[in-house]
């Protein structure tokens, strides 16, 4: 077919709010879906969902999914998939438990060794995918079985624990406030709460300000080049929602026990990965690789090495998630991480990544993970059984992808 509607003219793309919204339905839809789901559960759980303790819990519960979703997004954007992450998470948790509990190794050495081992596992799988062109589905399906078995072997079928208190800090620790308790007592009284964490609130304000500032800077640049960006009212609506949510969450967290360690780790990782995927050469090349591998290769991109690195990176992140998960449960069990790869993959697809590679964003994957997380959490509070929970989650995944495909067809 040689007919293209954009042939030679700009008239084929009618400008305006509605057409803009139609083309970016996915991104806005995701944000609104998260808000709607949160509002829904806030109401049906009688306000439990957004209580400070539950918000903190939400972060703790979903941290390992989100950490793995960062790596999974890259793997999926590169046109692959990794089914082994749940098993790797369990295996690394078991490995760390054996090192700390049975061999009495220092915590720092254990963490380091675990991350290296995770990288090696990623390398061992990535090697076959990248250099032998064996489908990642098969390689990582094998890996899923191998590492599930390996953790059983390592733990001799038993649970190993508990961990020393310092190890638990990985997951359940909180960053101490910058101001002593006495200094913030006044603030706490002002807000009518028991304590008020200035660090958490302060960081929230700073992050929110930076987001808006970066957004405005980007708009100014686009404008300088005459690039038609997001309509200004959309920009503000979206930013006000994001800002409001951030400030609201930081306030809630500040009034509980402050910043959980894992939230800081997660936040830093999200920022790094969002930056790397959107603003760096290597990120750009991963999208090119997933978008059209042959064309990328003929443009001088080392496609094999990039694929390999995507899996190494996934292995390291799965290992980190394994440590966080083990620390949270305070024990390593042979069943740890069972089926978790599916939650991670679902989060990435709900977040808008395409099965065929080349598209998807870190922020999308994180929001996708939160959508799953909030649903898990909300349904548990409501006392919905695991049977219905699974069914509902499955349908939400399907609906998200159908929404995607529907939008693309309407555009096409």
């Amino acid at each position: 077919m040689t007919m293209h509607t954009a042939e030679g003219t700009g008239q084929a793309e009618p400008q305006g709010l509605r057409s803009y919204l139609r083309r970016h339905m996915r991104e806005y839809g995701l944000l609104f879906a998260l808000i709607a789901i949160m509002a829904f559960f806030q109401v049906v759980t009688g306000g439990t969902l957004l209580r400070p303790v539950n918000i903190t819990n939400l972060f703790l519960q979903n941290s390992y999914i989100i950490i793995m979703a960062l790596g999974m997004l890259i793997v999926i954007v590169s046109g692959n998939i990794d089914l082994s992450v749940g098993s790797v998470l369990g295996f690394i948790g078991a490995f760390a438990a054996v090192m700390v509990v049975e061999w009495d190794m220092p915590i720092s050495v254990t963490i380091f060794a675990s991350l290296v081992l995770g990288g090696l596992i990623g390398a061992a799988q990535g090697y076959w995918v990248a250099y032998w062109a064996i489908p990642s589905f098969i390689v990582t399906l094998a890996g899923m079985l191998v590492f599930r078995g390996a953790s059983l072997l390592l733990l001799q079928g038993q649970s190993v624990g508990p961990f020393p208190a310092e190890f638990q800090l990985l997951s359940t620790g909180f960053v101490p406030d910058i101001l002593p308790r006495e200094a913030t007592a006044g603030l706490a009284e002002l807000f009518g709460v028991r304590n008020f964490n200035v660090l958490a609130m302060g960081l929230g304000v700073i992050v929110a300000t930076v987001i808006v500032w970066l957004g405005l800077r980007e708009r100014a640049r686009d404008k300088a080049y005459g690039i038609e960006g997001e309509p200004i009212n959309f920009f503000w609506v979206r930013n006000i929602i994001v800002l409001g949510a951030l400030l609201f969450l930081s306030y809630k967290i500040a009034t509980f026990r402050g910043l959980p360690n894992v939230l800081v780790t997660m936040g830093v990782l999200i920022i790094i990965y969002a930056f790397v995927t959107q603003k760096t050469v290597i990120g750009r090349r991963i999208y090119a690789l997933g978008g059209n591998r042959k064309a990328a290769k003929l443009s001088g991109i080392k496609t094999e090495r990039l694929t390999f690195l995507a899996f190494v990176n996934m292995g390291v992140l799965a290992a980190l998630a394994g440590l966080v998960f083990a620390a949270r449960l305070n024990t390593a069990t042979p069943k740890a991480g069972f089926g978790m790869e599916l939650d991670v993959i679902a989060a990435v697809f709900i977040g808008g990544a395409s099965m065929s590679g080349g598209s998807g964003k870190i922020v999308g994957a994180v929001v996708g993970a939160f959508i799953m997380g909030v649903m898990n959490n909300g349904m548990s509070i409501m006392g919905i059984g695991i049977d219905y929970q699974q069914m509902i989650k499955g349908l939400v995944l399907l609906a998200a992808v159908i929404f995607d495909v529907y939008n693309r067809q309407k555009q096409g």
Binding site: A6, T9, G10, G226, T280, N292, A295, L298, S359
Partner: protein, 505 residues
């Protein structure tokens, strides 16, 4: 003669654009009717209206077919009435046999069980009609594009076709395969099949067509009758809406020192290790020169280019590549690019572009170092670069943030060129640079090539269209079966001499 098809005042609008504007088309029974027009002129849209892809009611105007008002709601409706379209991109399943493909969706069956004997017998009859001697059980995968095209036609014949529509049937074919196909069309005409052919190639149109309708910007601008003589210049003028007395822009010819030398180049097939594909090829290109490589499809032109460009094809590669007399490392694509080579692939959609990404993304892809510092991209600079090339190459697009998948063929090719120009190459290898793009865009691409050679770049041009090579090149190497069989200067070269070099080997 009576009319088989009459499309009256067809208007089809898409949001924001009028693709067809009161188009009239009348096709007589038993004739070959050519539709000419630039890409995006509305030819394919018109055929989609005709075949029911755009259902009745979604356009204005009337279609009268075979003596009655036709209101097709689906492709199936029109097929049931004997209208069959064969698209540019073939719709065969490569893993199935010829027979299975011909009867796909129309299986010879009793109660869901396929009647293989009947299927094979019918297939043999149909293949004989289109002049194919391959066994019905041959996998489509293992026959060439030319034969696949014939299989498509056999498939159409199996459906009792009354009106056969061929959308750029020879775009991917070699000279002699094209000729065979066109002769088959004439034969079908003799048997009473009416044909519509959509084509860019005017010599072919002249060869087969009884009537030509030229479409420009969604309007039927002229209707020419072969009985009164078809002038190519007249058709081109109508297509582009201006005089195109010159199809190849002029270029001052001055060759400088030798830039690229390839010596004793040998390449083996990547899968069949015993098959040597390129035999002892040596050639050179000087600064400011445009050197052509002529040859039939399968002669190894693309394999030669790709093996030189970072060993992207083949194995056991031996030989030397020198730039300005110095041997250079071209063993990986990134090294070849660094050395100053650029290769514009023959197939821009699958090998050249990332269609879902923007013009900006594609423009900087091969030279991201040029728009980044310490691995961090400078998007402002990227936009500037993309804008610069958009202006320099006159790429028609609302903005550089447009996805390249939305552009027409000519504009896509400009994006591919922009990508390679941004790597500041000394040698550009262009593989079929004007395939599937319209006359006006071709002229622009030629002008760009001339500008590059004027800047002292060495250009290698591979093309299946001999007039293009003759019109553009300073020298032409003739290639056959993986070896160079001759070298002709612009003054010596002619279509006859090139062909005689190919066949004399």
């Amino acid at each position: 003669m009576t009319l088989l098809l009459e499309m009256r005042e067809i208007t089809k609008e898409f949001p924001g654009v009028k693709a067809l504007d009161r188009v009239n088309l009348s096709v007589r029974k038993g004739e070959i009717h050519a539709i000419c027009g630039e890409n995006g002129a509305g030819k394919s849209t018109l055929m989609k209206v005709l075949s029911g892809v755009y259902p009745a009611g979604s356009y204005d105007g009337e279609i009268h077919y075979d003596g009655a008002l036709a209101q097709f709601r689906t492709l199936r409706d029109s097929e049931d009435r004997g209208i069959v379209i064969i698209h540019q991109e073939l719709a065969l399943v490569p893993q199935l046999s010829i027979a299975e493909n011909i009867f796909l969706g129309n299986e010879r069956q009793t109660g869901g069980v396929i009647q293989w004997q009947e299927t094979f017998r019918r297939t043999e009859e149909l293949l004989a009609k289109v002049g194919l001697r391959d066994a019905p059980g041959t996998l489509v995968d293992s026959i060439g594009v030319g034969k696949q095209q014939l299989v498509e036609i056999a498939k159409a014949l199996s459906k009792d076709v009354k009106l056969l529509i061929l959308d750029e049937p020879t775009a991917a074919l070699q000279e002699n395969d094209s000729r065979k196909l066109l002769d088959l069309m004439l034969e079908l005409k003799a048997q009473g099949v009416t044909c519509i052919i959509i084509s860019h190639k005017l010599n072919e149109v002249r060869y087969v067509a009884d009537t030509v309708t030229v479409i420009r910007d969604g309007m039927a601008v002229s209707r020419l009758d072969a009985a009164q003589g078809l002038e190519e210049d007249q058709i081109v003028r109508d297509m582009v809406g201006r005089d195109m007395s010159q199809r190849y822009p002029d270029r001052p010819r001055h060759a400088g020192e030798t830039v690229l030398e390839v010596a004793d180049w040998n390449v083996w097939h990547p899968e069949h290790a015993e098959r040597q594909v390129i035999h002892d090829i040596s050639f050179n290109v000087r600064a400011g020169e445009v050197v052509g490589i002529a040859g039939l499809m399968g002669s190894g032109r693309t394999e030669l280019a790709m093996s030189i460009f970072g060993q992207s094809w083949g194995r056991g590669i031996s030989g030397e590549v020198r730039l300005h007399g110095q041997p250079v490392d071209v063993s990986k694509v990134d090294r070849a690019i660094k050395s100053g080579l650029a290769y514009v692939t023959e197939d821009r959609k699958t090998l050249g572009l990332i269609l879902d990404e923007t013009i900006r993304f594609n423009t900087t892809l091969a030279h991201l170092d040029g728009v980044s510092a310490r691995g961090v991209l400078n998007e402002a600079e990227e936009t500037e670069v993309a804008e610069r090339y958009r202006r320099a190459l006159a790429t028609r697009t609302p903005s550089v943030m447009q996805e390249v998948g939305n552009l027409s063929g000519g504009n896509q090719q400009k994006v591919v060129l922009a990508k390679w120009l941004f790597t500041s190459p000394e040698v550009l290898i262009l593989d079929e640079p004007t395939r599937g793009i319209d006359v006006g865009a071709k002229y622009e691409i030629y002008s760009i090539i001339n500008d590059l050679s004027a800047q002292g770049k060495a250009v290698v041009m591979i093309s299946s269209e001999m007039p293009e090579l003759l019109g553009m090149c300073d020298r032409i190497y003739v290639m056959n079966e993986g070896a160079f069989v001759g070298e002709l200067s612009a003054a010596e070269a002619s279509q006859e001499r090139i062909m005689s070099l190919i066949v004399s080997e």
